[in-house]
């Protein structure tokens, strides 16, 4: 006798604890096995790209804060670099160093969030998450010293920065940078060797190098698949060509490798910040004299940075006015979701949540 069974379709989201926002997945299950996945986007769509067309170039900085709200510093950087490229604005050296320092701090904060929420998705009841948040809080405190805000920073301007870092920022930065390696070690002691974490993440949600490149995946997901591709090395911007750092890669491209790559990237970021503080010129301007109403010459420019989640690019078309004619964002978390079906189908319900968490998306950026 055979028992008649039928697949069940479940709406995972938009209100679900593990969708990292308002993402919605229509999943078809056969018991616990995933048969099909259909992502549904757009619950957080605010039309940022369209809004940008009616704002001046400086005002758009605030829009970029609200895309990847976990890593607004990187968004600021990617955007102002595109405007600088379009309008041909130079950036003072000191500003470039502070930009790199804040972008790397932001990378650490973002990877902390990614790691913490991955563990939360694994079912570790918020303990690793809180430890990750503790480190992130310290970095946010530093940002507060820089610009007064913690999440929506708007610290960068076309041509430099809002303002120079206050004098007490540097000792505070030293303290954070000195403590971070120990905190990352502590996190690794809790997570990396844990039998349950290994059982849950090894060989789950595997993405090969070919698949990753075919889907134009970037960032830690691509590097976990074994592709040593990092825009900071491949197309060095700001002062990255003067800094020494490694690009960590993974072997299998599974969830565990993504976690390990993020952990190693945090360590590399600490190295980068230490070098920046050493190399940085004492004093000097942090903002080149650029007008408030920037009138970029007619034309277009694309500029990308290696954001915490992958290649974050802004493509700006100008018609010579004070606002861009078109502003297109290459959002890494949106594009990293492309191979979702390849990673999820055939897996189990629990793996679906973990794999989805290991992609590390931010809905503000996916929907924009």
């Amino acid at each position: 006798m055979t028992i008649k069974t039928e697949p069940v379709t479940i709406n995972l989201g938009p209100q679900h604890p593990s969708t990292h926002g308002v993402f919605r997945l229509r999943v078809t299950f056969d018991g616990e096995v995933v048969l099909d996945v259909e992502p549904v986007f757009g619950y957080l769509h605010r039309g940022s790209e369209k809004l940008a067309e009616s704002r001046t170039y400086v005002q758009i900085v605030t829009l970029t804060d609200r895309m990847d709200y976990i890593a607004s510093m990187s968004n600021n950087l990617a955007y102002v670099r595109a405007v600088e490229k379009l309008a041909g604005i130079d950036v003072p050296e000191r500003a470039q160093y502070i930009r790199v320092i804040s972008a790397e701090l932001q990378r650490i904060a973002s990877h902390m969030m990614a790691t913490g929420f991955l563990l939360n998705d694994l079912g570790a009841f918020a303990t690793p998450l809180m430890y990750c948040f503790r480190e992130r809080e310290r970095i946010l405190d530093l940002f507060e010293m820089l610009c007064g805000a913690r999440i929506t920073l708007s610290y960068m301007r076309p041509g430099g920065l809002l303002q120079d870092a206050p004098p007490d920022f540097w000792p505070a930065l030293d303290r954070v940078v000195k403590d971070l390696p120990a905190s990352i070690d502590e996190l690794e002691q809790l997570i990396t060797g844990n039998e349950i974490v290994l059982t849950r993440t090894r060989n789950v949600g595997t993405l090969t190098a070919e698949q990753a490149i075919d889907n134009s995946v970037s960032g830690p997901m691509l590097r976990a698949a074994g592709v040593q591709w990092d825009l900071r090395k491949a197309d060095p911007y700001e002062v990255y060509d003067r800094l020494e750092f490694d690009v960590p890669i993974g072997a299998d491209g599974d969830n565990f490798d993504r976690y390990v790559v993020r952990i190693q990237e945090m360590r590399e970021s600490v190295r980068i910040i230490e070098q920046c503080v050493r190399q940085m010129p004492e004093g000097g301007p942090v903002r080149s004299p650029a007008p408030f109403f920037i009138r970029a010459p007619e034309g277009d420019a694309y500029s990308a940075v290696e954001g915490p989640k992958g290649e974050l690019g802004f493509y700006i078309v100008s018609d010579g006015g004070i606002a861009p004619y078109r502003c297109k964002v290459r959002a890494p978390s949106f594009i990293n979701l492309t191979p979702l079906r390849e990673m999820l189908v055939g897996g189990k319900m629990g793996d679906l949540i973990t794999t989805f968490g290991s992609v590390d998306i931010v809905l503000g950026e996916v929907d924009r």
Binding site: V8, I10, H16, P17, S18, F29, G31, E32, L119, N120, D121, L122, G123, A124, F125, A126, T127, M130, Y131, R134, L190, G193, N194, E195, I196, V197, L198, T199, R200, R202, A209, E210, I213, A225, G226, V227, Q228, W229, K233, A234, D235, P248, I249, G250, A251, D252, D257, K348, M349, G350, D351, I353
Partner: protein, 403 residues
């Protein structure tokens, strides 16, 4: 100073019977027992519900400390009145039932879950004379009654007509039924050693705690018990990051409060059973009365379970089933085999085993336990720490060639 069972000091159940009997005229013993039974049940159930309230506070505060935060600290000193605030909130909330729900099944499920949990307390010896029923098959009663919660969880999942609840309930049934087996087999070692199924006899048969004599049985029972109450790493029934809230997704108001109560009572009850079976129950050192020892030991076990909960992620549902049948089942058979042989060797003509012999058994069993756990970890653990060396993919040299 000796490790012994103390005569009841605080709540002597026998004397309560005697007191009620003395108030009634001669020949009405049956009435005395009825009234006494009601009074005692009332006391015990209320004490249990109150201690569950204390336990929720304890759990939230402790988790807070584990997680580098404060936990509830507003209402009352150190937030001890937080459970009352929670209760008021839950009672005043609207009690909703989905349109498609099977009303009767959904309404009865919390009761069906709570009652067996409370029934277990009937046989737990809180002191030499402090238990409700002197049942000589106590441990069988405990195992039988606790397995009813499988039905309750399925009722809750099925009745609320929600796909998440249904998934949680299906996982729950599969998991709870599987873990009944290692749980029962883990108890067999204790029964063999003490020669009795009654919980008070098991306490009396522990001149040294059975935790020391048969650590393997303790590990198996604790693992199975934490699966039975679906705590991390086995919390598949709720799995809040996967299923929203699992079987209780559609519950609200007082029905949710009852589920919540049963769920938080389960760790307490299971800890009591663990204390009775493996930690010597009410045994302790004078002059502290036995009940105090019992409470202290219970909260020590509760804390250990909480520690695990605060630290570990959850296993996937198929891995949990694999662990039950491949790991715990095999280990419990090893445990029973070892204990049975030792009992045959060491017992005298009357079947008694002295404390000295138990120490010898303890030494043997610790060796067996360490060997068995290492072998299991090697075979099931797949040596996951050995990772392939990462080498850059040939596709990665795009920028190197561009230079």
């Amino acid at each position: 100073m000796s490790y012994e069972i103390h005569a009841a000091g605080i709540l002597d159940f026998g004397s309560i019977y005697a007191f009620i009997d003395s108030l009634l005229p001669e020949g009405l013993d049956w009435l005395a027992f009825t009234v006494g039974g009601f009074v005692l049940s009332f006391i015990v159930i209320n004490a249990l519900v109150m201690s569950t309230a204390v336990y929720t506070w304890f759990e939230r505060r402790t988790l807070g400390r584990f997680q580098n935060r404060l936990g509830p600290n507003r209402w009352g000193p150190f937030g001890v009145l937080q459970p009352i605030a929670d209760l008021v909130k839950l009672i005043t909330k609207e009690d909703t039932t989905p349109d498609d729900a099977d009303r009767w099944v959904m309404t009865l499920a919390p009761v069906v879950l709570l009652v067996p949990t409370l029934l277990v307390v009937a046989v737990v010896p809180f002191g030499q004379d402090s238990f409700l029923g002197r049942l000589n098959i106590g441990i069988l009663f405990v195992l039988g009654v606790t397995s009813v919660n499988t039905i309750a969880i399925f009722m809750a999942g099925w009745g609320s007509a929600n796909k998440y609840a249904m998934l949680g309930a299906m996982r729950g049934v599969a998991m709870l039924v599987s873990y009944e087996v290692p749980m029962a087999l883990g108890v067999v070692g204790v029964v063999l050693l003490s020669g009795s199924l009654a919980l008070f006899d098991i306490v009396e048969a522990q001149p040294i705690p059975f935790l020391l004599v048969q650590p393997l049985g303790f590990l198996i029972f604790v693992a199975a018990a934490s699966a039975e109450m679906s705590r991390t790493p086995f919390d598949q029934i709720e799995a809040e990051s996967e299923l929203g809230s699992g079987y209780n997704t559609e519950y609200s108001g007082i029905k949710f409060a009852l589920l919540f109560l049963a769920e938080f009572m389960a760790p307490l009850i299971n800890s009591m059973i663990i204390v009775v079976l493996f930690l010597g129950g009410t045994r302790g050192f004078s002059p502290v009365p036995g009940q105090i020892w019992f409470i202290l030991k219970t909260f020590a076990v509760v804390f250990a379970l909480l520690w695990v909960r605060a630290t570990w992620p959850r296993l996937r549902v198929d891995q949990i089933m694999g662990f039950a049948w491949k790991g715990l089942f095999a280990l419990s058979l090893v445990n029973i085999f070892a204990i049975a042989i030792e009992v045959v060797i060491f017992q005298d003509e009357t079947g008694a085993i002295t404390a000295g012999q138990m120490w010898i058994m303890a030494a043997i069993n610790w060796a067996i336990t360490i060997a068995a756990v290492v072998v299991t970890a090697r075979t099931l653990g797949q040596r996951k720490l050995e990772r392939r060396r990462a080498s850059p993919s040939p596709l990665a040299n795009m920028y190197a060639e561009a230079d």
